[in-house]
């Protein structure tokens, strides 16, 4: 009996542990939404109206879908269909910078670094891309667009590299330093937008980028779905490839898992930390580039608000794995995009999403709470060290 039971037990166990890997984030999100619902009810609003608007705002209304297809097949008119798929594509558009920014934080986590500076890196990346986008004239798109993207990546990389270097060389905690870099980025952008980079209009915003620097859009006018989404997916694949298929990626993960062991194995900690923070900054910078070149075409004040904290939630939710981050980013894209409708239709401030995010992070970080709430038996999985104390 026992001989036959032993081999059949093993695959069973791995399946249930993989099931739990997926189940816990799912339940964490569900619990976050339930508590969010309680907050909505407590604030005196109708939770069905609110979450109904959240759903139609993120996926689109099924009725409109059917009507859109009917009118398309009967008359060949795409107008209604485009209206119907608008919320869905808009959610993908919202998810695009989230994928980049989530990857940025996830990459940091893999090296044991906590990058809270995605927000500042995002802003700087957006400003650099915008600058190249509007000031460099006369280039064909095939040169101009990559150049604008590169500028964003480099700007973000610089903003990430500074705290990375200070951490690696002097042991200055990257959490505080990346936050300080955020505030410096905000003040710098205030100055740039009020003077040197300001357009001639009334508002303190940059001029529009030239058409040659815009990320091409796939559908006619109101739909903003663009190439950026696919670039984000490509970036996710490249991060996966870097982390799991290259020697440097292995070194980075070793430094993250156990810096002392990595050091004794002859790995260069300083080089790896600086490299990772630069790459993380570049990814966050690209998030800003994708937003400015693909969606807005100009940069204004408060452009990056909230992306930094969202990115942390994404990385945690995706367990710092690129594929997980993409899924988490899609979830957040749909939530955020829907929340805009929820705000306008049901009068629920969009900040409810931050409340839900804070809760989701708590539940992901403390899976025991979820296990306790839903009576799930605990399976021993290896714990990943996310952060370390001061200056170590």
């Amino acid at each position: 009996m026992s001989e036959t039971a032993t081999p059949s037990k093993k695959p069973n166990q791995t399946r249930s542990s993989l099931g739990q890997e997926l189940m816990i984030p799912g339940l964490a999100v569900l619990t976050g939404l339930i508590i969010g619902a309680i907050v909505i009810v407590a604030s005196g609003a109708n939770v069905f109206d609110a979450y109904g608007a959240l759903f139609t705002g993120s996926f689109g209304s099924p009725v409109k879908f059917i009507e859109g297809f009917q009118s398309f097949f009967s008359t060949g008119d795409t107008g209604d269909l485009i209206k119907a798929i608008y919320p869905f594509t808009e959610s993908l558009v919202t998810a695009t910078p989230y994928i980049f920014a989530g990857l940025s934080v996830a990459l940091g986590f893999r090296a044991g670094l906590f990058n809270i500076g995605a927000e500042g890196q995002f802003f700087i990346g957006a400003l650099c891309s915008a600058f190249v986008g509007y000031s460099v004239k006369g280039l064909p798109m095939i040169v101009h667009l990559p150049l604008a993207l590169l500028a964003g990546a480099l700007g973000g990389a610089l903003w990430g590299m500074i705290p990375g270097y200070l951490k690696a060389k002097f042991g200055a905690h990257e959490v505080v330093n990346t936050i300080m870099m955020n505030w410096i980025a905000f003040r710098l952008s205030d100055w740039l937008l009020s003077g040197p980079m300001r357009s001639s209009g009334f508002r303190p915003v940059t001029p529009n980028v030239l058409a040659t620097a815009e990320l091409p859009r796939f559908f006619p006018a109101p739909l903003r779905f663009n190439l950026g989404f696919f670039l984000a997916l490509l970036a996710a694949y490249l991060v996966y490839w870097f982390l799991f298929k290259t020697t440097t990626g292995f070194e980075v993960r070793s430094v993250g898992a156990n810096p002392d062991a990595a050091k004794y194995a002859g790995m260069n900690i300083v080089k790896n930390l600086v490299l990772v923070m630069s790459m993380a900054g570049a990814l966050a910078g690209l998030a800003g580039s994708a937003q400015v070149l693909g969606v807005d075409h100009w940069v204004g004040q408060g452009f990056s608000a909230g992306y930094g904290f969202d990115a942390i939630a994404l990385a945690l939710l995706g367990k710092s794995h690129p594929a997980g981050v993409v899924m988490a980013a899609l979830l957040f894209g749909f939530l955020r995009s829907g929340a805009t409708d929820m705000q306008s239709m049901a009068g629920i401030p969009i900040d409810i999403i931050s409340i839900i995010q804070g809760l989701v992070i708590v539940f992901i970080a403390a899976p025991d709470i979820i296990r306790w709430l839903y009576r799930i038996r605990s399976i021993k999985t290896e714990e990943t060290v996310l952060t370390r104390g001061w200056g170590k």
């Binding site: 907050v39 604030s43 906590f114 809270i116 200070l166 002097f170 042991g171 200055a172 905690h173 959490v175 505080v176 330093n177 936050i179 300080m180 870099m181 955020n182 505030w183 410096i184 003040r187 710098l188 205030d190 100055w191 009020s194 003077g195 904290f309 942390i312 939630a313 945690l316 009068g347 629920i348 401030p349 900040d351 409810i352 999403i353 931050s354 409340i355 839900i356 995010q357 804070g358 809760l359 992070i361 708590v362 970080a365 403390a366 025991d368 709470i369 060290v385 996310l386 952060t387 370390r388 104390g389 001061w390 200056g391």
Partner: protein, 420 residues
Amino acid sequence: MANTSTKIVSATENRVRISYGVTLLVLGLLIYLLFGINMHSGSVATFGLNLAGSQAVEVPDFVVPAQATVYLMSAIAIFAGAFQLARGVRSTGWLIGIVAATFVVAFLAWAAQDKSFNLTGMLGSSLVRATPIALAALCGVISERSAVINIGIEGIMLMSAQTAVVLATVSGNLYVGLIGAILVGALVAGFHAYLVIRFKVDQTVSSVAINIFGTGFTSFISSRFLQKATDALNNSGTFPIISIPGLAKIPVLGPVLFENNIVVYLMLILVAVMHIMLFYTPWGLRTRAVGEHPKAADTLGVNVYLTRYVNVILGGMIAGLGGAYFTIGSVGRFDEIMTAGKGFIGLAAMIFGKWNPIGAFTSSLIFGFADSLQVKLQILRVPIPSEFLLMAPYIVTMIILTGVVGRAIPPAADGQPYEK
């Protein structure tokens, strides 16, 4: 063998000596180039020592020749750099302090050239602006001395700030708001403690979740309720200034230290009380033992978990008081994300102050000074864009973290969960 090892040591020492020396020299030259060159001789800088409306005895203003002061400061910095290069000073901290001071004095002389600059006013506002930073730093000190990292101070302060103003407005009593803020701080910090002690959640992650939740929650309440009913919910007034009889009459020091509101006094008292508690009471000894070597403390019968709960919650109450400062202690209303990174700057002050209450307070004063200097300079119309002046506190934080953290040693068990 011995010879080569001393050689290696002296080589690194040499490099440190030269790099410090060169930095100081460059700074001295910078003072001369930035400030000295475009000043005209014979100009004077007037530093006002009296504050309008204060009870202090009047003293004459302090007038200095501006250009000569800048030259003197530049010379001191260059001399210090040359001395460092030639002789090599062991304790470079003092040297950096002196040179930083020369830079600030030269800067002030340059900024106040041909103008009047109220020094007493600025020192007073430095203390006021240092108050939330110091309270955040004290929160960090008390909880990290028991080895629990809390970088969620920002979120705690936001929630406390909002609670304070709403309770104070609704009840019409500022003290109700103050107590509410402190209780909210205790509640949120208690939650953090519960997560990291009971569930062993990564302490940084848990505190970041608190920050995100705090930002989201307060912004949600603000845009759903407070903005629609400002007078009914978000207009509390502020604590009055209390002059301490007698002491307030001392020139300069009087208006700076003894004409403040209750939050500032509470902060000053807390600094002293915490210093005594940490270093001269059994509770302090237990706390430090738990922070340095929890296993040993446990063996000797100290309840590690209870000590950590108590310390983190006390820290939360202090942060709650800091939150109350933002609303009922200074402007009387809540604005979204009004803490503007002060919680994190407080953590930098804690590190700079080497996890000591008095050290943390002193470094908070430096941040408060940088903060109020920046405001005063905007009024003086210094030819530097105000946005760059606004960056100053953040840059100072980074420099301090970089320069000091290597030598500041946190409690040995800081950030690690304890398992029996």
